[in-house]
Structure formats: C-alpha cells, structure tokens
Symmetry: D3
C-alpha cells in the first residue's frame, strides 16, 4: 500500500494577493514599521526560514507575496515545496536584500506560513491514519468550518496536506441536512434539488440507517453519515454496496486522530474533519537573520 501522494494546487493568486494586502495593512496602519525605521536604510541581510518542528509545508505563495508587496527587489530562494515534509532545523527558504523590509514583512510571512502549514500538518496526520486503516480507500476532506476570510488559502493547505476539499461553499452543491429533511423529507428534497439544480451532486445527511435506505432508494449521489456509531456505519456501507447506484459515503462527527482509524476501517469513502481548518495549531517556523 503506497503512501498517499498529495497533489497540491495553489489557491487563486488574487486570493493570495488580497489576503496579504489586508494582513500588511492591519500590521502597518497608520505609521508603518516604527522600529525598522531606526535601521540604516542600506543595510542588507539574508534571512532563512527554518522549521522548528516536524510538519508539512503550506503557504509559500503567501510568503512570497508578503515580501513582494513590501519590497519587490527582495529575492527568495526556496528549498521546500508546499506539501513537502519539514523537520526541526529544515531550511525552507532564504530571502536576500535590504534588512528593513525583510523585518517589516517577517511576521506577516510567518503568520501565513505557520497557520497554513499547521493545517497541512494536521491534515497529513489524519490522512495517513485513514489511509493505513482503509488500505488507501478512505479519503479525508475538510469542511466549511474555515477561518473567516481565508477559505481559499486554507482549502489549498488541506490539499497540501494530502486531504481533499469538500464543498468549497454553499454555492457548490446541494447538501440536504437535518432541518431540510425535517421540512421536506429526503425524497422531496432530492427531487427539488434535481429540478432546481440539475447536474449538481445531491448529498444527504442521515443520522439513522433507516434514512440511509430512503436516500439510497432516492438515488442520491452522496450520503453523510452524521454522528453514527461504528456498527451502524458498517450497516450503511453494506447497504450501499448492494445499491444499484452506489453513492459516496461520508462520515462526520466525533472524528479525532484517535478514532479516525476505526471510522476508516468501515470502508466509507470520505471522512470530514472540521478540526483541519478550525483547530490546527500553528507549525512553528522561525526566521533566522544573518547580517
């Protein structure tokens, strides 16, 4: 069984540029960097991004953009790629040029790298455990539980970690949840979804095996097994295998690094983990400056 191979795809460049511009503005309004203004303006330096911990890198495009917006003449050479592993002491990149703008952009660059690499690192942990427990069958994907304003960047970091992306947003596909079911029933909700949004995936949340039977009969494209116990999940997997048209089975609820293997062993297709994007601690990365 091979290791999972992430195929990261960069976030859209305008999302990177915009997020960096906002981060710099909040760090520099109104007077700019008071302390860097004390330095001799022509002093140059090189600065090396070094990992202080084990992890997976993400956010290169944001770090590049932070230095570019502060001083386009700074030069950056990378020795690691998004999705690549770093160890304590791993050199990630070297920035060369005037010292003052390097220090001005340092914290913004580190905030992006640390936050996004933290997401990639936690994702990789979940992905590897699910991969091993399922023989490579079960994928891990994210949720819409992202940090406000950073959805594009965080979902790219999940990809760098080897995870997949669930719905990008409410406009992506139809996800019929408990409240929709309560009002419309699964059959009617699925029928409306197909009528109103043809060609879109119809994804239904079920919290009981009986609902899954209904959803299978309704021919939905994906079923989210929400907060079900392992034996129920196994029943649902078995039911789905017998179905004429096998939908994707997704599990959510109560998934932690400790429990994911158990969920993955049931043979579901996908496990969604909100913690990837809303609870990943920062990856500790520092900037060592050589003057």
């Amino acid at each position: 069984m091979a290791e999972p191979v992430p195929v990261p795809a960069d976030p859209p460049q305008f999302a990177v540029a915009d997020a960096v511009q906002r981060a710099l503005a909040e760090d520099l309004t109104p007077l700019g960097d008071l302390t860097s203004a004390l330095l001799p303006p022509d002093q140059t330096a090189s600065a090396v991004f070094v990992s202080r911990a084990d992890g997976v890198l993400a956010g290169r495009a944001c770090a590049v953009e932070a230095f570019r917006q502060i001083d386009p003449s700074l030069e950056i050479a990378w020795s690691a790629v998004d999705g690549g592993r770093v160890r304590p002491g791993s050199e990630i990149a070297t920035v060369r040029g005037r010292l003052a703008p390097i220090l001005t952009a340092e914290r913004t660059a580190l905030n992006f790298l640390g936050h996004l690499s933290g997401i990639a690192t936690l994702t990789r942990e979940f992905v590897e455990r699910a991969h091993r427990a399922s023989g490579g069958r079960t994928r891990v994907w994210d949720t819409r539980k992202t940090t406000p304003g950073l959805r594009s960047l965080e979902k790219a970091a999940v990809r760098a970690g080897g995870g997949a992306n669930h719905r990008g947003n409410l406009s992506d596909w139809v996800l019929v949840k408990d409240n929709h079911v309560a009002l419309l029933g699964i059959v009617e909700a699925a029928a409306r979804a197909r009528a109103m949004w043809p060609g879109r995936m119809v994804h239904v949340e079920c919290d009981a095996v009986e609902q899954v039977r209904v959803a299978l009969d309704a021919g939905v494209d994906a079923i989210l097994l929400d907060n079900m116990a392992i034996p129920e999940i196994e029943k649902c997997v078995a039911l789905a295998r017998k179905a004429e048209r096998r939908p994707l089975l997704e599990v959510s609820g109560g998934v932690t690094l400790d429990t994911i293997a158990t969920f993955a062993a049931t043979g579901v297709d996908l496990i969604s983990v909100g913690a990837l994007t809303n609870s990943a601690p920062v990856l500790d990365i520092g900037l060592d400056i050589v003057i």
Copy 2:
C-alpha cells in the same frame, strides 16, 4: 485575591462588518446558497446557539452582523455576553425569523463565534493560572501572531478572555529585537527611538542578564526577557526592582499552560503567549433549530 475581571472592548464596527462581508462572499459566490433555495421561502423558525463545551464567549458582534447582512429582519436575543463563561448546554442567543436566511448565515456566524470564543477560552486559562501564581500581579497578553486579516477581532477576543493587548501592530511602539540590537546596540537603538518617535514606549528584547543591565541603564520603558531560564528571570526582576526607573518586565518563549505558573511566580509584569491567537482550538458551539 480576586478573580481577574475582563473589561472587554468591542472591535471597531467597520472591522466587524468588513470581515463578515468577506466571509459571506467566500461562502456564497457565485450562486448563493443552493440548498436553502429548496425551502419554502416563508417558512419561519427559531434557532438557538448552544455551547457544547466549557468556555468563554467572544464574537457576538460578528454573529449579529452575519445575520444582519443576510436578512436585516432577523431578530437576535442574547443570553450571554462576550467575556462570559458558557457550559455545555448553555444557551447563548436565539435568532428568530425566516428559516432560509438563518441557514444561509449559520456557518459564517458559527465560524466567527467558535474561532473567537476559542481564543477567549484559551486566554482565560492562561490568565487564571498567571493570576493565581502571581497573586494577581502578572498579566497575560497576546502577540502579533494573529490570523491574517482578523487582528482586530482576535485582539478583542483576547480582551474578552481577560488578557491584555500587546502592540496592536508595527506602528504602535518601538520593539527593539535581537537583530536591531546586533546592528545598533541597545543604547544607540533606544536613543534613536526616542529621537525619532518621541513619546512612544521603547521596548527592548534581551536574552541575557547582562543585556538587561544595559537596558536598565538606558532607561527603557519595557524589557522583553526572551527565552530566559527561571533563575535568570528572577535575577532580572531583582535588578529591575533596584533600578531608578522600573520598566515593565515581559517574559516570552516556552510559555505553555503547564509552565505559565512558574513564569508568573517570578514576579514579572507581563507574559506574552502567541498560542492565544495562533493555536487556540475552536470552541464547540452549535445552532439548534426549532421549526
């Protein structure tokens, strides 16, 4: 010794409105909420925000704004305040009005509440341990290690947690770090800072007792003791007490929930903790809908 009493101050309203607008845009571009469009448009409901865990609330203004931007006719009644404690099952607020917009705004409101309450909750933990260990003397404050684009909101959440705010940004005051010291020396850096930015706090990072002596002689306003061992910190505290003009003493580096009491017991004034804003897990809050 009294408990610390947070005096939370709301973030500026334009920062709230702007962050919410961006979060909704990333969740709804380009087609809006496909699933809510299936619902009967006149269906009303009430929806109760309920905590699923112990914690400290923050982010009310963001939740209000999320519902307001989607449908100004929704009504929200709060039963908890920013800075207040919540328990599993605590009702936080009730939203009443049309169901479809409630569901459209739900995730955005929860993302803000969960993220910011997570910060307030972790902050409160650190604050209480420092308070107890120091007899109320030692305060906890944040850093510039915030999530890009959310600086204003996260620093307000730290205040809701009972923490204080370190520099808001690079424009706030002068913080002379190791690289500035290497180039200029503490005495020269402090002199330049006073000449160029009169009236601003001059804050110097020191990593050895000898540097602290120099900084005290230079009459700086605050000294950051970076990654020092406890005995050295104690020496610095003693030195500072003897100084003609006693500066603030701040500790940073290696501060965790396990170690903070030890640091606080040294009698320093402030302890900075980057984890408050870059590694706080989300506070689990849900929205229960009654149709």
Copy 3:
C-alpha cells in the same frame, strides 16, 4: 404536459449591493447628478416602471437597491415578480418620494431591470421550445459566457427565465474539454479528477460517438456533446440509455431559437446556450413619472 415553472432564487444580497454601488459610482463621479440639482429639492413624485414589450421580469432586487442607496426614504411597491411575464403596458412597480433622487437612480435601476429581464426573456423562449419539443424532459441551462462582473445576477436572471444554471465557475466542478482530453485522454482525466476532487461531478466534452463510448465506460457523471450532428446525438442518447450508469447528456453548439426544438427532440437532458447571457437584447422598460 405542464408549462415549465421557474423557481427563481435571488442572487446573494452582497452581490446586488456591490454591483449597484459600482453602477452608481460610475454614473455620479465626481460631481453627482448635475441636472437633478436644478430641481426644487422638496418636489415629490411617483414613478411607475412600465414594460414596453412582452417579456419576463428579472432584477427586482437591483432596482430596489439602486433607489435605496440613493435615498433610503423612497418607497417602492411591486406589482410583478421576478420570473413573471410582462406585456406592453404592464405596470411593474411604483416608486414614491422626492423627485430628484428618483431621477438620479432611474437610469441605473432601468439598466439592471432591462439587462436582466432581457436575459430572463430570452431564456424563457429557449426553455419553452425545449420543453415542448421534449415533452418536458430537456432543460436549458446557461454557460460561463456571462458579462464580466455580473455572473451572480445573470445566473439568477436565467433562473427567473426558467433556465437552470450550469457550472457557476471554474471552482464548481470538473469539465474535461478537448485540450485536456488531448493531453490526458478521457480515462486518465476522469481518474485524476476523482482522485483530486472526490465527490465532484466529472463532466467530459466529447465531439464524436467513439469518445462517448469511452466516457460511458469511464463512468463519468455528465457528457457534453459538442457540435455534434443530430443523428450522432441520437446515437449517443441510445448508448447512454444502455449504459449501466446513465450520465447526464448535454448538447452545446449551434443552438438557436430555430434549432433548439430539434436538439431537444433527441432526448438529451440539457442544452447549454451561451446566448442567454452574452447576446440577449435588453427588455424595453420605461419609467413614467407623475409629478
């Protein structure tokens, strides 16, 4: 066979507010409305939107927003809904209040109403012909050939016209086109799509029956029959009906009001028409003012 019943869903409010704000800014920079400034400031009036032609209404939210941004005290009463038919002379809405702001907002409101109603009107024409020719089976949907900056609003106007929405944008689902096929082949492209973007529809463009066979074998979710002749399309429909898992069949290319019935009669599921959004003439709507 029943008439098709459009279930229009409004575009997101922030998209409406933003588009209107930009339209007003380009009409009023830098000095505002020179001519309205000549009027007595307290003069009031009522103004009636009247259709000058047969058509389908769309864009109400934009017209409301235009008046609201110029003068929130103006009152609007509607006698028609998005998706509803209008005839020459049909009254659509009445605005009451101060005359000067009514005249200032008039052209912006009309530009939105006319453009979006033009799209809804043309869509309805295509939809009805496809509906009749296919016994209600074949749907019409739009494309990404929208006017830059108005995607959300135009796709909502298509829904008001009874059409469906194809991909909202490049982030929605995977559409493997001729160039991707040339590089990767259908089988490999579909495999990569499933691996990289699990749960997303895999949609493949084919321009020959032989390609359709490959796509059916690959189990893709939807097939776009691009610029095929009617007999070939019929072959593809027959093949798809025999397939184990019947994908959606979409036709594009050469579809006009004259030819759509012929395409719809083949029994395909969907017909995409770029002209809905990039070539619809304006619906002639006027504003009659009573002072």
Copy 4:
C-alpha cells in the same frame, strides 16, 4: 466621401484592471480552476485568438490584463488592433506559455473580447449607415444605457466602432428632460443650469417643434429631438440653421439599423442609439490551442 476613421482611445487602465480582477474572482472563488489542476504543471502551449465572424475588434487591454493577472509570464503577440476589422478565420493574437493558466484565463479574456467587440461591431454598422446617408455629416453616439459596472469599457468599445461618446455620466453635463421641463420650463431650466453649472453644455430634450423654437430662443447648446417623426425633424433642422447660434441637434428614439439612414438624411448632427451598449450580441471569437 471618405470612410469614417475611428480614433479609439483606451479606457483608463485602472478600470480595466478592476473589471478583470472582479471577473476572475467570480470565476475562481473559492477553489480556483479545478480542471486545470489536473494538467501537468509544466506543459506549455500556444493559443490563438481567432475570429469566427465578421466584426470590429475591441477589448484588447482587457484580454491582456486577464492573462497578466493569472500568470505574468505569459506572452501575448497581437495581429489586430482595437477598431480594426476581423473576418471569420482572422488571427487576432497569440498567447504563449504554460497551458494551465492559459486555460484558466481563457473564458474571462473571451468574455471581454466578445462583449466589447460585439459593441464595436454593432456600432460600426450604425456609424457606416449614418455616414453614407448624411455624406459624413451625422455622427452616431452612445447613451448611458450601458451594462452596470462596464461603462468605461463599453464607451471605449463604442469609440473603437467609430461612434462617439454622449455624456459619460450624470456628472458630465446638464440634460434637461421632459420631467425637468414639466416642472421648470425650458427657459428657466436653461437659466438655472447656466447659473449653477457655468461652462457646461446645456442640452434640452424636446418632443415638439414648438419646444425647439423655445430652446433655440433660449440659446441652448444642444437639442435632443426625442421620438419625433422625420418631417418634424426636418423642420427642426431648418429652424436651427436659421438660428443665430446653431446648437447641436440630436435624434433619439426608434433608431434601428433599418431606420438610421432616414434619420441621418435629415441633416441632424448626432443620433443616439441605446442598443449599441445594451443589445449588441457578442462577437464570436474562439481560442485555438496548440500544444
């Protein structure tokens, strides 16, 4: 009688950059181009914009900007200019570089080129007919009936088509319409306009010969003959020729490709046509990719 020679002037660059940025954002939020992510990242290609129809080109600056914003390393070589004629098969430009970003920007570039060239093409038709019928005297100009958000770009496309630009917006000059006349009368309205906005053109809408006499006596700078019959227009032309100070005479209302020659033959100076910008079908342009 020479052909009319358009002297196109580019729209302001910030208007181009802004419109393109918005178009790309709506096409790529939140996850970017899912399908291009399947391609080998280093695959290069050349891509040729080819006209599929007869027309007049406009929008080059927007196409350039779309590729530049997605990948500044792409190279574009043009073989046609804004305002130049294209035929079916005419090569317009060639883009060279990485294939993935070319495909990501393709639709946005085409949407601008097609929309703006459609406007230039329709404008040229009207312009040539007016030119021929009037011996080169009568000009065609646009209106404020533009697509919201694209005013600058569409008015530049009209110039590329050989048309002129009427008022850019409400801030440009004073246009006294029927409602202003009803309230103030022509004489008073003109007096107020000159008092309040000295140096600005005073332009008055008239729908009867008698009103034109009043306007001529009032010495206005331009008269808009709105929805008048040909014989009345001819009377107005004759009256204006006898006036001490001959104002510009403009015709609007009921002007189509079929009728414009008749209007132009009356000898008026200008004919305004809303359809130039609100009803021009797209010019069919494609992108042929050579890998």
Copy 5:
C-alpha cells in the same frame, strides 16, 4: 446688485460614505478607541458643534455619516445648513446619545467639517470680491487642484461657498493647454476635439492676445487667459465681445484675495482659483460636550 446666492448641491452619498469609512478606519485600526473604552459604557451626553470663527459651513453630510457609522443610534439636530454663515459661538448641531461613540467619532467629524468649511469660507471671500467688482457678472470657480481622494466633497464645498465647479475631472471636457497647442496648434487641436468628442466644450488656454484671436476664429467654447496682465485681458474681453460667437472667458494665474477685484473688473466670465481647494486653512469648529 444682489448678494450671490449659493445653491449648494450635496456630493453623491457613496462618496461621503466611502470617505468617512476610510477616515474612521485610519483612526481606529487595529484596536479601536483605547481611551473611550475606559468610560462607563452607558454614560450618555449631548455634544454641541460650535464655530470658533467667522465662516461658511460645509460638510454636514460627512459629519452625519461619521456618527452613523460609529453608532446609528446617535441623534443629530442641525441648526445650520451647508452654505450658511457661522460666527464665533454659533451652534451648528447637537448630537445626543452614548458618550463613548460620540468621542470616538468626534475628531473624524470635526476633520471633515473643518476642512470643508474652510474651503467654503475661503471660496465665499473670493466670490464676494469678484461679485462686487464685476457687478455680479464674474463668477469664481475651482480647479482640479484638489486634495487627493476628496474631489467630490471639496467641489461640493466650493458650491456651498458660492463658487462654481470647473471641470470635475479629465473626463469632463477638452481643455487644450500650452503643450497641446505647441504640438497641434489651436486650430488643429479644436478640430480634433470636435471630431473625437462631439458635444463637449472645447476650452483653450491662451497666454497671448494673438492666440486669443486664433481661438476666437476657431470658434472655441471657452478661452482660458493664463497669467495675462490686466491690459491684455481687457483687450481679449473686447475682442470676444466683437466675436460672432462669444466664448466664455476665464482668467487664471496670480489671483489672490488682493488681486481678484482687479481681474473681475475686466469683465471676464470666470476666474479660477486653485487655492480654494489646496490652500484653504481649516475653519475652527469645536465640539462642546455636556455630560
């Protein structure tokens, strides 16, 4: 001879809202108003805007908007209008509500009121002197020498002061200056202007009587007499009176409060004064708070 009566027209509301939003953001990023946070949150007050000097009021809409954006529940009652005179001690407006937001918005509101009233006040001085010296014939207007980002607001303040607005911007009309004349000559420049921008005023800068003769022969709409001596200006006025079509005559250069009467006495139509918008000192207005 009557006093000149200003007919102020408000700037567009979006320009007001946008300028205020930016001003508040620069005053409150990132932490908000530190000092107001010390106040009891429920403390209310009333606050009276009082003039400390003689002047003319402008900028009411901006002050209203500043308070509205900070706290929509604040109530403002005005006792003066834009364009109205104020004296030392004149009460201008009263704000009532919570004290903390009043103090937070105070400086922003005062900055707008003071700056814009300063412009209106200086304008009124120039206007009255020109009015008296010319028997009411000569008007004063502004230039494009405005403070970057405040063009709309400053030009409205000029109107409040009784001045008129010259070109709003480069898009308004054609102003042929010395460099254009050097390259094209007046005749050719005017011909090109009429061909390219029909209906627009053609305004030509002349610095010698001989040029004015050429411009008169070319039938231009307005002539700017730049830095001419009084006798030359008088010659130009005489020439223009004899011209078949009398253009507007404008004087610029060397116009101060001391010299304007002399220029106005020549009988020119308009005098442009850059100082109105780029050198007006603030009007001293204070806010007296009653708790």
Copy 6:
C-alpha cells in the same frame, strides 16, 4: 546648536498605492483623459518638476506611483529627496517617456507633491523656531487633525519636515482629555488605563497647574498642557523637574509661527500644532514639459 536633522521614514507602500489609485480614479472616471487622447500616441517628451517657491519636499513616493499606475514605462530621475530644501527654480525630478500619459498623471502627481510638501514646509518653519528658542530641546509634533484619508501620508510629510508624530490614531495610546477627567478624575482614569491597556503610554490633558500636580502624583507618562498661559506652563515645567518620574510635557493651543518660540522657551518637551496638517498651504511646484 546644530540644525535639526529630519530622518524621514516613508509611509507604507500600500497606503501610497491606494491613495494614488483613488486620486486617479476620481480624475479619470468614466472616460479617461479626453484631451490627451488628441495627441499623437507616440509623441515622447521629458518633463521636469520645478519648485516655484522655497520649501521642503515631501511626497516623492506618491508622484512615482502616479506615473507608474498610468504608464509603467515612464522613467523618473530625482534630484531632490523628501525632507530636502527646494528653492524657486530647483529641479526636483525629470520624467521621460510618452507625452500623453505624462499629461494624464501630471495633476495627480502635482496634487500630492504640492500638498505634502506644503505640510513639510510649514512643519520645518515651526520646527526651526522651536529648536532655536529651546536650544534644541523642544520638539514639534502633529495631531490627529489630518485630512481624511491621508493620515499616513501627511504624518510622513511631517517627519520629512523634521517634526515628530503624535498618536497615529485612537488605537495608539491613551489620551485622557477633559471629558474623561470630568467623568473619572485623573487618578481613576490613569488607573483604568493601566489596567486595561498595560504598557501603553498614559497621557493626560490638564488645563490648570493643580491638575498637573495630580497627574504627576499619579505617575502618568505624559501631560498635555492645554491652552495654558506661559507663566503657568513654566510652573508646570518646574513641578515636573522635581517629580520623581519626569513625564513628557506637551503644550497645545494657541501655537502659531509667531508664538511658538515663547512656548518653546519654557522648556517643554513637545509642542503640538494642528495647523501642520490641516492648514498648510500648498507648496507651488510646476511641471515644465520639453517636447
């Protein structure tokens, strides 16, 4: 006694880019530069910024940005620096490239240079007088009385003039003014400030010697002597010298070029002057074009 040596620090680049973009947009919406469009597009020129008066230069970054945004191929060579003196006739910079974009950007570049150099020039006057009268002890700094939207740029211009920057904004430090004192008293206000915002300067406004005694006892960091007479100021200086911890003493109110020497001679540390940023007349700078 040496001359004061300004150490100007540039404003943040995003603040420059944003202010310039807005200034260009307001000057070019919607049609661009009508007059420059008449010129031969390939005509080149060189253009020299020349001072027409004595002054101090500021705003170079804005002028560079204005030309860059209009045409990145223009080349600028500077012969003066921000903070440097200019005389009538001093050449400041030379721009070379296409004439049309030079003329389009000219006024925007001049508006920034003139406004910001006007501030630097007036600041230098105040600074030199205070410097001489105090033997170099007393500094001049600005206030929050800045032009809305230009705070960053104007505060940088004050630095170029040799002045210092007071609070950047309300988020910078605590300034307890008369209304806060009225409600809380100095002692309580200072205590709250230290509790809520540890590490921030506590600055208190006093208008009587008695208040200064209280403030000194409270150990505040800075005292603003507001509108005090010279003898009272002298008493406060004497009191402060005797204080255990000498706070900064600032004077404000009634400070003009005529009176500043008297204030400075009292030995206070800082004098704040609102006129630096809200009443500085423009520095007259022109652009001489050589074709």
